[in-house]
Amino acid sequence: MYPHIPHRPDQPILDLQRVSVRYEGRAALENITFHLHGGERVAIVGPNGAGKSTLLKVVAGVQHPTDGEVTVYGSGPSGHVCIGYVPQRSQVDWRFPVSVADVVMMGRIAKLGLLGWPKKRDWDFVQAALETAGLADLYSRQIGELSGGQQQRMFIARALAQEAELMLMDEPLTGLDTPAQEGLLALLGGLQEKGVTIMVATHDLQQAAHYFDRILLLNRKMIALGPAADVLQPEKLLEAYGGRLRVADGKLNLAALDDACCDEESHDHAH
């Protein structure tokens, strides 16, 4: 019932060719071209309204590009169930009457098929995913009772239960305290060892530089894609952030780039 197009191993896990998205004539993304290798970790950075979320949604096949083409292992994303999408915490109704295990089981339903019910194998998958994410103790907890870091881990566990090969995360670090951020980044590191390809939208350039293989610098157009040392150059950052960039003593003050405004917003919505 549910489509799943076979992967062509000779094709890159993700390939974008001249992808543009316009909302009512206004460009959200312009002419984006790049491809990813299997098992890579890429951070998408850029100012608010740069199109980070739009880019993730186009890759997930949730939003269709106005122009250009997205392919996953050689075919369009809408035929694949191997793409895990972790939403912004502020987009989730945390009072919804579901337990942690219920949410993680949702990742399995494409595999269950129409009218199929979870079998022992599926519950084993859920249990294993929760153990990987360090949430085994919180199996039957209502989701609103989790901390911010645990909420993000739950969605990662869901993507694991889905057997996602490409994991897309929208601002997973926003609003988390430092230990929770470190824990999440360590978990992502473990996923890379399993061959999962990861794309994360983030505000934090220092973490992007420290924990990710490549950085995609975005402001509607793709300004740069490469290792941190190549991408985080003053002229490129100026192009992406414009006047919001501060340069102190010839060194970039990376912390100054964090947009405080949206952090506040997601705090409000998360409760």
């Binding site: 949730v62 694949h80 169930v81 337990s99 219920d102 339903i109 129409l114 209502q142």
Partner: protein
């Protein structure tokens, strides 16, 4: 003393059993429980997805269809179920399409259609001379006027709604909790959304005679909202919602019988009272005295 207790028991049993000697009360009780359970289970999705206004509008929108059926069938009640069903399904898909494509805000679009169709329904019914009584039955329900034949159709269609809710449990749950996940799992999101709208429409048709179009939304949201306050899992929310709705139906009908108030409002008031009590209890009220 013993005799007094015994007499009290006999009076109480008599009080409970006496209304049941009337066949219309038996049918009314079955209808009230049936409608309560179906509305309550479907209503969990109405509450969780924030569709209360849609449910209210849909119920009112079927009035012109029911009115046309009423005129064509010359006042007979049984064909009205089919007119209600047909209109409700068409209206739900129509409103669904308008929500998706409208250039104005969703609630505004629903408001315009809802009021326009409701006015049309009243206009049609008002062409009939003795319209006042019949109109009030359509608006507020007439559970004691339910015939055995209607009851059978209500049971079949209400049962079908429950079968679909169970069969597509995991799909509706996922779609309601995280629509983006439903898309990335490549579920047939459009089909499932429309299926849910149709299930709400069938529920409205099944419930029309019991609570009427004006009070319908209470049956869809009040028991489900009460259950929402009491539980943390969807299956138990459905179960608790159904139990509250069924009890409200029975209690409401007895109140209606002895207090002489209309059945639809008695049922809805009972459900509302349960909600208020649970709400206050959850707010920690009445406050316990500190020692």
């Amino acid at each position: 003393m013993l005799v007094a207790t015994k007499n009290l028991m006999i009076t109480l049993i008599d009080w409970l059993v006496k209304p049941l000697s009337y066949p219309f009360m038996q049918r009314g009780l079955i209808a009230a429980v049936l409608v309560g359970v179906v509305c309550a289970v479907v209503g969990t999705y109405v509450v969780l997805r924030g569709m209360a206004f849609f449910g209210d509008a849909l119920a009112h929108t079927i009035l012109p269809g029911v009115a046309v059926g009423y005129i064509i069938s010359g006042g007979a009640r049984e064909p009205l179920f089919w007119w209600a069903l047909g209109t409700a399904v068409l209206a739900s898909l129509g409103i669904g399409a308008i929500i998706k494509n409208a250039r104005i805000k969703e609630d505004t679009a629903i408001g315009i259609i809802f009021a326009g169709m409701f006015a049309l329904g009243i206009a049609i019914i008002s062409t009939v001379r003795s319209y006042a009584v019949d109109l009030s039955h359509f608006l507020f329900g007439d559970v004691l006027g339910v015939t055995t034949q209607s009851l059978v159709w209500m049971g079949i269609f209400g049962g079908l709604v429950l079968v679909f809710i169970v069969a597509f449990y995991k799909e509706f749950l996922t779609l309601s909790f995280d629509p983006v996940l439903a898309v990335t799992l490549r579920l047939p999101v459009g089909v499932l959304n429309n299926l849910l709208l149709v299930l709400i429409a069938v529920t409205v048709a099944v419930a029309m005679q019991t609570v009427g179009v004006a009070l319908m939304v209470a049956m869809l949201v009040t028991p489900a909202a009460t259950a929402y306050l009491l539980t943390k899992r969807l299956p138990s929310m459905m179960l608790i919602s159904a139990v509250i709705a069924a009890l409200s139906g029975v209690v409401g009908l007895y109140v209606s019988y002895y207090a002489g108030i209309t059945s639809g409002s008695a049922i809805v008031l009972t459900a509302t009272l349960v909600f208020v009590v649970v709400f206050l209890e959850r707010q920690g009220w009445p406050r316990r005295k500190k020692i």
